[in-house]
């Protein structure tokens, strides 16, 4: 099997795109990713998206994008796994190129969220949980994560200010990231005293609502024939017990743990080898539990480590290097592809003011639901 490389990436700024449709966003990101290699005609188009049906009354995004890109005839489809839709789409594209099923693939994540009002977004996101149980009793996705945050704080004696560390570092990095939704630093006090939205989660604990699209062009390295490439070393999907209330250990993200363990093993790396890290910080507590599940921090120490600088741009494991979900933004189906695009920027040395010096190995972790689906991907500079 050939080695699979991320040849190029493209993305829109995350934010309010009132003047652009979901197709406009997907086309913009795709064209940017395709532009550097006009001779590569992708064998497959994979779209990661969660709720275009709700937001845009539009499905069939695969064929829609194929036509818009003048790639009529190309196999095309949408993949959905809640907020992990983008990561799963990437995983499929990678596996199709790796196995020789496709010589190249364009994988696009896109979500249009701002056309919905807040209750509509809340309903759309709650479709990641069980309609028959969780939705029925009125537990929103936010309130489920709030319960997790409270349990996390009480179990491990995590202070309010420690919980604020991930949002603070995300915003600090986003301040210098051109494509970020909120290019603004915030202080620990800003986060810890922001309005409560679902106790103990406050406004600045939570990723915002935004529109965006990100795309990557995957090819075999034979096709690309370049010196300095970003290679996909591994990508693994795992799933957890669907309903949070049925899990025995709420504070272990077992899908992430399983996916990371398998991805690191297949890539032949250990935690210590990782130079740059994009995690699924949908909420502050999610970021903490994610780094713990992958082994970057010990159980209960993720938020404390963030407060101590471990995950800062000049720390041991730089994370959320362009702002993460919290500040770069979280257009849900696109997030998994923004992560890959950002790792590509880092590994190519194109990170600008956010560059992590000398990085060679990058890891992305993208989850759907409360760690219900998790995708962990390892990229390397070669």
């Amino acid at each position: 099997m050939g080695r699979v490389v991320v040849a190029s990436v493209g993305y829109t700024k995350v934010g309010d795109h009132w003047d652009k449709s979901i197709l406009d966003l997907a086309v913009e990101a795709s064209k940017k990713a395709l532009k550097p290699y006009p001779n590569i005609k992708p064998d497959v188009i994979i779209v990661g998206n969660m709720f275009s049906g709700q937001s845009s009354k539009q499905e069939h995004l695969g064929a829609l994008l194929a036509s818009a890109l003048n790639l009529v005839g190309t196999p095309a489809f949408k993949v959905e796994a809640a907020c992990a839709s983008g990561g799963v789409a990437f995983n499929l594209g990678y596996r199709m190129v790796r196995s020789g099923e496709a010589a190249s693939a364009i994988v696009v994540g896109v979500e249009k969220m701002r056309d919905l009002d807040a209750p509509e977004v809340s309903l759309a996101l709650s479709m990641a949980e069980s309609a028959e149980y969780t939705q029925f009793i009125g537990a929103s996705f936010l309130s489920l994560n709030a319960m997790l945050a409270r349990l996390y704080q009480e179990t491990y004696n995590v202070t309010r200010d420690e919980l604020s560390a991930f949002p603070v570092l995300a915003h600090r990095n986003a301040a210098t990231a051109e494509h970020a939704q909120f290019r603004k630093a915030v202080t620990v006090e800003d986060v810890s005293r922001s309005p409560l939205v679902s106790d103990p989660l406050r406004l600045l604990d939570c990723a915002p609502i935004g529109d965006g699209a990100a795309a990557v062009l995957l090819t075999s390295d034979e096709l690309l024939n370049e010196g300095d490439v970003v290679e996909v070393l591994s990508s693994k999907i795992s799933t957890n017990i669907f309903s949070v209330y049925e899990r025995e250990d709420l504070l272990t993200f077992s899908a992430t743990k399983d996916a990371a363990s398998k991805a690191f093993s297949e890539a032949g790396i250990s935690v210590e080898d990782v130079d740059v890290l994009e995690i699924h910080d949908a909420f502050s507590v999610t970021a903490a539990l994610s780094v713990e599940a992958m082994g970057f921090s010990k159980p209960g120490e993720g938020a404390k480590d963030a407060a101590a600088g471990v995950y800062s741009l000049r720390g041991r494991y730089p994370a959320l290097t362009f702002g993460g979900l919290k500040a770069r933004g979280h257009p849900v189906g696109a997030t998994g592809l923004y992560q890959i695009a950002e790792l590509w920027l880092q590994l190519k040395g194109r990170g600008g003011l956010n560059q992590v010096e000398g990085c060679r190995i990058g890891v992305a972790q993208n989850i759907g639901g409360v760690d219900t689906t998790s995708v962990v991907t390892v990229l390397a500079k070669r």
Copy 2:
């Protein structure tokens, strides 16, 4: 690469399942498909579905099903390509097993439609077309196909009664099919005089609204180690110009033509080798244009050939052998898997009263939109 076989299939009756959720249906079909091989634990779960978000306020069906089947940890996701969602899901499962990315895969198509009222179903189906153009001007999916039917009749001098031939044969076959939604024969007069819904399409030209799920277990033949198996010879996806009004030749289903040409070529078969055929007869005109695009009838002669008995159970190319979309029913995301399951029954000699004698090669054609996405699959008894 190993040969890929459809080891087993499972499905629900199509119809009104007021007492079952979308998950219940998916679980029922999956468990039936998994039951004969308790030792095979699938490496991946792929769900084909178009609009669970609209019908059930539920996404994340992959992980939801993984948990319900006690397959926590297994990679799982949903695939969407409008009414071709099931066919595309099957194609992906096949390619993952073929390439060695998975030793086995469970592919499930499911749709819950009856919980929506008719205008809601119409809106949900219209998401297969462009929200910005087709929906905006008020063209429903039905009306687009009606325009196609009129053009077809006028271009080729197809009579009303000839157009009725596919629905008549579908209902005739469904009368003896246990899982069909409408187990009732109808006459040419019944169809030709049924109420107009969008001129010239009448009620009995159109596939009904129903709930259902169908699943297949795919494995490599090494894993199965049996004598008489149903092998997947090929499966190809193609796409057409997205918006019908932008196509130069409205009466050539070019996605189906392309997919069939590639699938037949890869399988090493020609049209004459095909013994049994499941086509996407969402509307009478769709059936006619489908058999023409694949080469079973000449252009303009699909409906006439059906009227002459070519596609009847004892005809040259038996089609819609358990009633097709028209009478077995069309729970959209499940349809592509019902087709595979029905070919499996035929090739295994388990067709009961609907058995096509001595069949060895079967073809399924599943489309999304107006031939916007098409999946053509070739199965063989080995």
